[in-house]
């Protein structure tokens, strides 16, 4: 019991600490890929600390909602991230929320972010919010359909069970799984506002989505939101990792050795995924905002196809 709580706590802290590092790593790799030195790995930590120290400049029109939102976003994302098995499955609190809940938690984070974007009443906030909800309205169903197909396969929406099942030998190579993987990756890219859907580095009004929503934020609020976005990326990577690369995962009740192995495996997976992401982002160009629906529509179709295939194949 105690040990499990400890593991749970360790997990919560570790995701919190790892998230900036992951971002730093991605940025570093991207910089190297274009032959630049790039900022140091721990630059994101520095940024966060700096932002926290700064005072907050609040627009005259900003309401209480605007000031509460950053903490809500952070909390929702953190809770979600804490429930995804990273280096061990079967965490103490994993049963409080299954995959659907995790998706929904991210959804509520987005909900409030969009509202905050509209609160100050500048045109950019609205622009960002409306684009964000458009993207979400396609990404969320796709994500849910992916959840469906996983759940149908593993017979559960409980992440630990799913992970355990995917680790077990009985799951062979399946077309539908491939489809779900591709769809999941596409959704992850969209959700984390990465190229080609959005560009986290841009401040060009016409193209930005996520940045437009948080345009009015500054100081500690901005820090919270940034941290939340870092966590989100980590969350999706660990999700892909624990579902599609479930090796080295073990129950939280297992001994410290197993856990150590799990942690090591986890770090490797993260590194691999981060490198892949960086390579992908440097390889492709950002697409026009109204190409995004097609991109996500494809994801949606893939996910649906995967689910249908499963339904049909299970009956054979």
């Amino acid at each position: 019991m105690i040990s499990q709580l400890a593991v749970q706590g360790a997990q919560m802290l570790s995701v919190l600490l790892l998230a900036p590092l992951l971002i730093g790593f991605v940025r570093k790799v991207k910089a190297r890929l274009v032959r630049r030195q790039g900022p140091s790995l721990i630059q994101p930590y520095r940024d966060l600390v700096r932002l926290m120290r700064k005072e907050v400049v609040l627009a005259d029109n900003a309401s209480w909602l605007f000031r509460v939102t950053p903490y809500l976003i952070f909390a929702a994302t953190w809770v979600a991230a804490a429930l995804v098995p990273t280096f061990a499955t079967g965490l103490e609190f994993s049963w409080t929320a299954d995959l659907i809940v995790i998706v929904a938690l991210l959804g509520s984070a987005r909900f409030f972010q969009a509202l905050a974007g509209m609160d100050v009443g500048t045109s950019f906030g609205g622009l960002g919010a409306s684009r964000e909800v458009m993207i979400a309205s396609l990404a969320e169903p796709a994500m849910l359909l992916i959840v469906f197909s996983l759940a149908l396969l593993a017979g559960a929406t409980q992440l630990s069970t799913v992970a355990a099942f995917m680790g077990s030998p009985e799951v062979g190579l399946r077309v539908s799984l491939g489809m779900s993987l591709i769809a999941l990756v596409m959704v992850a890219i969209a959700e984390n506002a990465r190229i080609p859907v959005d560009n986290p580095a841009t401040h060009l009004e016409l193209t930005m989505v996520h940045e437009a929503m948080i345009l009015e934020y500054s100081g500690r609020h901005l820090a919270m939101i940034e941290l939340a976005t870092f966590l989100k990326l980590l969350l999706y990577m660990s999700l892909i990792a624990c579902v599609f690369l479930p090796w080295g995962l073990d129950g939280a009740s297992a001994g410290p050795k197993a856990l150590a192995i799990g942690a090591a495996a986890y770090l490797c997976k993260l590194a691999v995924l981060a490198i892949l992401l960086a390579v992908f982002e440097t390889a492709v160009a950002k697409m026009r905002v109204f190409r995004v629906p097609d991109f996500l529509g494809a994801a949606l179709m893939l996910a649906l196809l995967g689910t249908l295939l499963l339904f049909v194949s299970r009956s054979l």
């Binding site: 926290m52 120290r53 907050v56 609040l58 627009a59 005259d60 029109n61 309401s63 209480w64 909602l65 903490y71 952070f74 909390a75 929702a76 953190w78 409080t96 929320a97 659907i100 809940v101 929904a104 959804g107 509520s108 909900f111 509209m118 609160d119 100050v120 009443g121 500048t122 045109s123 906030g125 609205g126 622009l127 409306s130 684009r131 909800v133 458009m134 979400a136 309205s137 396609l138 969320e140 169903p141 849910l144 359909l145 469906f148 759940a151 149908l152 929406t157 409980q158 009004e205 345009l215 009015e216 100081g219 500690r220 820090a223 919270m224 109204f290 629906p293 339904f311 049909v312 009956s315």
Partner: protein, 671 residues
């Protein structure tokens, strides 16, 4: 005659008495307070009775009055289902009356609202209690009639008159469909008592016909696409608290009618009946919420979102039917419980949202979101509870909307065990539709709240606005509390629903309140589980932790300044995103097939001074496909036949003569 039923029947009687009294005294100053006070008390009593029956013994009690259809009598019956819906109805009634105590004072035409409001409540109560076809239809149509009168309350407005007209015509269309359905169930002998119908099982064809007729009848009242056309017109036309009743409660009464006939009277369904309900439900959900997204009138937006929720409920009812038909009672129980749970939740947050809209309306006199904005500064409490309503209806944890939708998804995940291929293919597709509609709902209510309450004021009306009276606030706060409670303690609701599901689908969901930490586990913990309470706790704890740490260890300095906006000079409020522009990206994506929408931009030549114009053309497809042809046909027929009014006497004689000759010929050729 059972005492509980007797008590429950006294309620509507008292309500009707109130209505009569109100008709007499409606012009008195104190009338408003008297009437709403009376309805509040009566509904509260009814609520208590029904709730205790639901919580206590799940037994059935019935009573027969020597009224209505002579040789059948007016039969009434109280069982789990009707008790549950009585709770829904009277909870709505109680809180709406509470709201009305304050809101009713702003009413310009009290004598056109007060008499019909209690009658409307009485009608809904009686529908739920009725136990024979005649009293059912009588109460059903009485309910429509009362609500029609309420829609016509502000009759000087042409739009309202049109709304009322379309509403009542559709309502009587629905009644006719129900009438035919009951005709089939009753058989030539005319056994109109539900007890008799229960025992007599119609053949497959008749069962199919009944289901279709019920979809037409109950569906037209509940607002299934394409029978929804009246709903977004009529619901907003009524005074806001009545809109809340119509949207939040009356649609549920329609669902009750559907359940009563299809699950209770019809006996064992065929699986393809479920398919029809599923598909219609899914389509309704998606189209309803898309329409809502395009709306810029706050109350119409809410009305359309009602259509979406009705779609969700029907989809999960269809799922329950399919499971029931395939002898999977546990799965059926899951789907059925999900549907009922959503019924309850929707009655909470939709009433809450309409109350909020009413508050905005009475504070600013505006329903058009394009003229609102920044109300969060003027109406702090209203905006807070409205926000809770938005979060709940957007199915976000830890609020109640999510809990029920989560159950629906869990039910969908049971579908691979279904034997039929049709269902195998359709169910996940419908699941996708529901997921889509859920996401769109979130978008829709970001828009609803963001445009109305956030940003800067778009009209002078907003500056003058100030917080509404305490009665209204109390009603809204109570509902918000319910939304949260039902969200974090779903197990409580699910367990109390077991007495409803057991007799209808022959199984109940496992007991939830026994679960550790009050989490809900529909099938097995290894499979799926959700704990609203803990999620709520985690979020609050971690949020406050973060806030605490930062304010403790980092800066908490704060400076007010003008908005940054990428360095643009402070623009006029008109430069903000409007409701229409907010919906534009989604319209680009879905409008093509949902509304056959087309955008035309005429850009003046460079240097020309006239403004560029963006014209958006959208079609209400359902209206154009189903309604316009009918009206056109009627128009044509009347035009043609009308000539018969203008014949000469000789021609009329010719008609008589020809008719005589024809009849004689028939006779001559008679074998």
């Amino acid at each position: 005659m059972n005492s509980t039923v007797a008590l429950l029947l006294c309620g509507p009687a008292a309500l009707l008495a109130t209505a009569v009294m109100a008709a007499g005294a409606s012009r008195l100053a104190a009338a408003t307070r008297l009437v709403y006070g009376a309805t509040l008390a009566i509904s509260a009593v009814l609520l208590a009775t029904a709730a205790s029956h639901l919580a206590g013994n799940p037994g059935e009690a019935s009573a027969t009055l020597p009224l209505g259809l002579p040789w059948t009598g007016a039969r009434f019956r109280l069982d789990g289902l009707s008790a549950f819906f009585l709770v829904v109805v009277n909870l709505g009634g109680t809180i709406t009356s509470l709201y009305g105590l304050g809101y009713g004072r702003h009413e310009s035409q009290p004598h056109r609202v007060l008499p019909f409001y209690p009658a409307f409540l009485a009608g809904m109560n009686l529908v739920v209690l009725a136990n024979d076809a005649f009293s059912f239809l009588l109460s059903w149509e009485f309910m429509s009639l009362a609500s029609w009168a309420l829609v016509m309350a502000h009759h000087r407005d042409e739009a309202n008159r049109r709304a009322g007209y379309i509403y009542l015509v559709m309502a009587s269309f629905g009644t006719m469909a129900l009438l035919l359905a009951f005709g089939l169930l009753a058989g030539p002998a005319g056994t109109y008592a539900f007890d008799a119908m229960r025992t007599a099982h119609p053949d497959r064809f008749a069962a199919g016909a009944v289901l279709v007729l019920m979809l037409l009848g109950a569906g037209s009242k509940a607002g299934l696409v394409p029978l929804h056309a009246w709903l977004p017109l009529a619901h907003p036309a009524a005074p806001s608290h009545v809109s809340a009743l119509m949207s939040g409660i009356m649609t549920k009464v329609a669902i009750y009618g559907f359940i009563r006939v299809v699950f209770d009277l019809l006996g064992e369904p065929a699986w393809w009946l479920g398919v029809a309900v599923l598909l219609i439900g899914g389509v309704t959900a998606v189209l309803g919420i898309l329409h809502a997204l395009m709306e810029k009138d706050l109350k119409r937006l809410l009305a359309y979102s009602t259509i979406e929720n009705i779609g969700v409920i029907f989809a999960s009812l269809g799922l329950a039917l399919a499971f029931k038909a395939n002898g999977m009672p546990s799965a059926a129980a899951l789907a059925f419980t999900a549907a009922l749970f959503h019924v309850l939740n929707h009655s909470f947050f939709k009433s809450l949202l309409f109350f909020g809209a009413g508050a905005v309306l009475s504070a600013t006199g505006e329903r058009d979101m394009e003229k609102l904005g920044g109300l969060i500064h003027r109406l702090p409490v209203t905006s807070f509870v409205f926000l809770i309503g938005c979060v709940s209806i957007s199915a976000l944890p830890p609020f109640n909307g999510f809990a029920s939708e989560w159950l629906v998804f869990q039910a969908i995940l049971r579908s691979p065990e279904l034997p039929q291929w049709g269902l195998k293919v359709i169910v996940p597709a419908v699941g996708g539709m529901l997921a889509l509609s859920a996401a769109l709902a979130a978008a829709c209510f970001v828009k609803a709240f963001g445009i109305t309450f956030l940003g800067r004021a778009r009209s002078a009306a907003v500056e003058r606005a100030h917080e509404v009276d305490r009665w209204s606030l109390a009603a809204m706060v109570v509902l918000a509390a319910f939304c949260l409670l039902a969200g974090i303690l779903p197990g409580l609701v699910i367990d109390s629903l077991s007495t409803v599901t057991l007799p209808l689908v022959g199984e109940r969901m496992p007991v939830q309140m026994a679960q550790p930490w009050l989490s809900i586990v529909p099938i097995a913990e290894s499979r799926s589980s959700y704990n609203g309470l803990l999620v709520f706790a985690f979020i609050t704890i971690s949020a406050s932790l973060a806030a605490f740490f930062i304010h403790r260890f980092a800066s908490h300095a704060l400076r007010r300044g003008i908005a940054w906006g990428c360095g643009f000079p402070d623009a006029v409020p008109a430069a903000q995103y409007t409701a229409v522009s907010f919906a534009q990206p989604i319209r680009r994506v879905f409008g093509g097939f949902a509304f056959r929408s087309r955008e035309t931009v005429d850009m003046p030549a460079p240097g020309a001074l006239e403004p560029a114009r963006l014209k958006v053309e959208m079609h209400d497809v359902a209206w154009e496909i189903f309604y316009q042809p009918i009206t056109g046909a009627i128009d044509f027929a009347t035009e043609r036949l009308n000539h018969l009014q203008f014949l000469t006497i000789r021609r009329y004689l010719t008609l008589v003569f020809l008719y005589l000759v024809i009849l004689l010929l028939v006779l001559a050729l008679w074998p």
